[in-house]
């Protein structure tokens, strides 16, 4: 149970609440499921603590279009690693909607998926293992490959652009 972000283990500062039930005190930092956010938007935005939203498979990140700058974190739930919808949500949030807050992968987050998540805009990973182990897994995963074919919003240079640079240099 450790969250890795920016090459370090970070504290859990957020309380994730369910779709229903009472909310904690007003100054707690809350993450609410998208459905609840849509229903109770105004009262949630009126609270004192920080606010984040959790996307579950089937949700539309587009629903957050008007509120992105009010959210400090969005978590994307991968209930099973095989459910890859969250990768698309990540790219839509970052590359299309311009979300700049923390984008955290939660759920069945495993070492072998972390590089793909990073490439799709995630910057935090909630792993089911303890501190050092989690950190080492993320580090290893992020450097396992060094060649990338697809341009995504993660800023990694693609093989194609390296080829172009090389060709330009040779001319």
């Amino acid at each position: 149970m450790a969250i890795v972000k920016n090459d370090s283990v970070i504290e859990q500062e957020w309380i994730t609440v369910d779709a229903e039930g009472d909310l904690p005190a007003s100054d707690e930092n809350l993450i609410v499921p998208l459905a609840r956010f849509k229903e109770e938007r105004d009262s949630l935005l009126g609270r004192n603590g920080g606010l984040g939203v959790q996307l579950n498979p089937g949700d539309a990140p587009e629903d957050l279009a008007d509120d992105l700058d009010r959210l400090s974190i969005i978590t994307v739930n991968f209930p099973a690693y095989t459910d890859g919808r969250g990768y698309s949500y990540g790219r839509v949030l970052r590359e299309r909607m311009g979300f700049t807050g923390e984008l955290r992968a939660v759920g069945d987050v495993l070492r072998d998926q972390i590089l793909y998540m990073h490439r799709c805009g995630f910057d935090a990973y909630d792993l089911k293992v303890e501190g050092e182990v989690a950190l080492n897994k993320v580090r290893a995963a992020l450097k396992e490959m060094s060649v990338y074919y697809q341009p995504t919003g993660d800023g990694r240079v693609t093989a194609q652009s390296l080829r172009e640079r090389r060709r330009a240099a040779l001319q």
Partner: protein, 551 residues
Amino acid sequence: MYRYDDFDRQLVHERTEQFREQVKRRLAGDITEEQFRPLRLMNGVYLQLHAYMLRVAVPYGTLRADQLRQLGMIARVYDKGYGHFTTRQNIQYNWPKLDEIPDALLDLAKVEMHAIQTSGNCIRNTTTDQYAGAAADEIEDPRPYCELIRQWSTFHPEFTYLPRKFKIAVTGSPNDRAAVKVHDIGLRMHQNDAGETGFEVMVGGGLGRTPFVGKTIREFIGKNDLFSYLEAILRVYNRFGRRDNKYKARIKILVHEEGIDKIRELVEEEWAQIKDGSLRVDDAEIAHYIEQFAPPAFETLSDDDADFERHKSENRRFANWVRSNVIEHKQPGYAIANVSLKPIGGIPGDATDTQMELVADLSEKYSFGDVRVTHEQNLVLPHVKKADLFAVWSELDKADLGTANLGYVTDIISCPGLDYCALATARSIPLSQRISERFGDLDRQHDIGELKIKISGCINACGHHHVGHIGILGLDKRGKEFYQITLGGDASQDASIGKIAGAGFSEAEVVDAIESLVTKYIDIRESGERFIDTYRRVGMDPFKEVLYGDR
């Protein structure tokens, strides 16, 4: 042909090392089978009936001589001296040991080959026309686009955990030899009214449990926009494809349930937002890839060769082979030579180590080192001088590779079936062997003409039975193998899904059943009609009658 540069090589190398580590972790007990399974599958390693199976990718069915030679070496060193070419233009080895597979992959990497994209719910290896770059009827060589698709789809970070596997096929010719209409995405090259070359895009084709012919989602997409358009389709599929039921997870079901118009709307909406982004490929880059697949250094020859004609008139077996297996080339004086992996009574698609090495040698000597794998489980020497055909055939013939049966009733597609496959419900290879033996006589085969028999050992339809002119599906009925016959399927540009003729047949009955269908066709065909043409003219009833009488 495309040569890997250091980036491509680096990627394959890193992947190979990564898998070596994963195998090590598994054998040491650091990861469980449950954790390892998806990792091995992503490297083409299945566990089959008798042993592991390694599926090696042959991107768009194109091989160089050194690669095919290496495939032969792998068969000898890591397997039992043979490999099986599949309907996905790949090759499978049936007996590799897990602890040796990392070494086999390293040997593959040395010739720029790998097992990436041969399994898992990702975008699989792209397939295309086996005659690409050689066919007289092609608009343009599709392989530069296939290579660009290969790169775009390899380890795509967003599309590695799709609802289900995803297959793309491309044809550069109006005569579709790549079965593009029965793929998740089919691309057909053509020219629009403005005279530009681009692609018709079809989605939602596929075989398996619920077969569909793909539907056109866009009449024309320009080359520069192809990749952003593919990405738009994949994103829509990744977000909205069903994940609640594995049998309803392919894009064909999404297209079927939502309707092609709705899917088109979603895709166009998505595409509008990304089309001017970084996936737009400019003309210079396309030109760079076209250059990589530039035609080899053909000699300027007359289209007629006196020796070739003489050999044909002197050697009847050679003439027969030319008649069925040699196809017109776009360059005068050259021909496309098909190497049949369907000897009479043999195992469709199997080739031994020495056969692979021989074809590699012949391609080096006579075909610019170029070999192709077809989805019909044969090999091709795409650029042979007519003057060399006799020498090529003589060598092939000595190695049992000179069977003159391309497109004939004995050129049967057959999946491995219950003899190898863990998912099978019945055997398919023995049936193909019995049918092949029954129709072994060459004159008879020639008289019957083009007739495509395709056999699958279970409903997954790897043997493409739905698109066989005669399709055979092996099933299990109370512990006994039995076979269901479909008629009227077609994988070409006139694609159609075959219809079930009626109740299934026992193993003993099915060869007779096929023969009675063929006899009926011969009786009622009109001049120039292939089996499929006759079927289309007369329908199911006359054939049903010979199968079942009044039953």
